[in-house]
Amino acid sequence: MLNRPKQGMTNYMAARSHFQVEVASATDAGAIRKHNEDSIAFDDELGVLVLADGMGGYKAGDVASSIATGLVIDYLRRSLSEIEPAPIRSAGLSLESLAVKATVEKINLAIYKTAKTENKYTGMGTTIVLILFHQGLATIAHVGDSRLYRLREGRLELMTHDHSLLQQQVEMGLITTEDAKVSHNRNLVSRALGVEAEINVEISEHEVHPHDIYLLCSDGLNDMVDDTDIELAVNELRVNLPLTTQQLVQMAIDNGGHDNVSVLVAKVKHKVTGWRALMDRWFDWLKITGMNTSWRN
């Protein structure tokens, strides 16, 4: 009866970022589907988190999404090692963002070729959403209707725009956002990896603040759970990141769980080095032993 979401570990990422990032994840096939075609991955060293929602025939969607998340880590590890972290930014996108863009384009081609050469993979594709932390910035890239939200000062903001028929209809004023909730087109994406040889990757760069929380999710979350309830869960449970992801997945299942649901969450913290780390450990110890450390906040 209880559909227990798989729970990810909490990890700390440092890498090229000025910040430390704590990560947790959860994924579940949902209440109705047998297969989970979502795929998630992250890499502490690189400071990258990625989520993909696969589509296509029997198990092919699964293949497409795992190729995508696997290759992101592989390709970025190679291309980022050739980039010196540069404190000064030139106009336009940073070298890291350009590397992300090139990576997603390469992955698109890889999936496209696999789909073309193997019969059982014909027509497979996948969405992708990823975030890379570097210096004081985050690069966000996406294709399809997987989303990235940011919680800053208690407010949840959507940082990506779905590449979907529904989004296009709303943008053109053909239907209202209220209409969108009763549309039967929610499953139609307008862009996906692996469908054509070329892909237009949407990419953006943002300044990162300490205490920001970044949430990557498949549409199985935002189709089942209102943004206000996502905001509530992340706000209330942010001290316990694994519980946050578990709760979000559970809410999607409780509301019907029509689709696979995956969430990947990153919490930004000050990078602690040297004496600061020691102090923090000492204060944690005080907290554990029950001493009042509230004066420190």
Binding site: V170, I175, L188, V195, E202, D219, L243
Partner: protein, 237 residues
């Protein structure tokens, strides 16, 4: 395939399949459905097909269009919707268009309004509308969840009934001891959020898992002590 069943005064006058991308309803004979009644405008309403949706639109008619007795300007048709134009009823029948979620898997749209490579770049567009996609049926489900709440026995305002109608609420002292009470389809659960001690229910530690609550259970975390109640269930004396 989707169809309209046209009737007048309870007598069925015809079945029409929505087999065109733009389907018109009006008084003059060029319409796909022609309704010969002076109260019907020349072209009264259109139904536009957008992939899985049939979108009904009032074309500036004189007497308006009702769907399920409500006036509409534009409406995405749902299975069994009844459209009214003057004295006519048009019932929309489409098993695929349930108000509930469709179970179709994610697919590439072949009717996208612009292709993936000529889509305007986000940076060149001033503001894109944000899209809330949570289905209405998901909200409807939520309102069927049982309703309960807690009363502070210690560590809060006594005797005040706090209803928990959101999916979750946290209690305790942030940074020290916090628990979550979550509202789920079959009832409420207590879960540990932070602190060195797990929450207690009726004096027993619940450990690191979700614990189902029963009426009159006493919940503790740190200094905070709560009693669980459900307004519609009889309380023990």
């Amino acid at each position: 395939m989707a169809k309209l069943v046209v009737s007048c005064n309870g007598i069925v006058e015809g079945h029409y399949f929505l087999d065109k991308s733009r389907f018109t309803i009006g008084r003059i004979p060029d319409n796909d459905i022609s309704l010969n009644d002076p109260a019907v405008s020349n072209v009264h309403a259109v139904i536009v097909t957008m992939s899985n949706d049939h979108v009904l639109e009032d074309v500036a008619s004189t007497n308006g269009v009702l769907v399920n007795e409500k006036k509409i300007a534009k409406h995405i048709l749902q299975n069994n919707d009844v459209i009214e134009l003057s004295g006519y009823q048009l019932k929309y029948v489409n098993q695929r268009a349930l108000a509930d979620m469709d179970f179709d898997k994610t697919m590439i749209s072949n009717q996208a309004l612009w292709g993936s490579n000529d889509e305007p770049d986000a940076t060149t567009l001033p503001v894109k509308p944000l899209l809330a996609t949570a289905v209405l049926s998901a909200r409807a489900v939520k309102t069927n969840f049982p309703l309960g709440g807690v009363i502070y026995l210690n560590g809060g305002k006594p005797d005040e009934e706090i209803l928990i109608d959101a999916p979750l609420k946290t209690f305790g002292q942030p940074g020290k001891q916090v628990l979550m009470i979550s509202r789920r389809p079959h009832g409420y659960y207590v879960t540990h959020v932070e602190g060195k001690n797990f929450p207690k229910v009726n004096g027993k530690s619940v450990g690191n898992r979700a614990w189902p609550l029963e009426v009159n259970d006493v919940i503790e975390t740190g200094e905070v002590k709560l009693k669980f109640f459900m307004p519609h269930e009889s309380q023990e004396p």
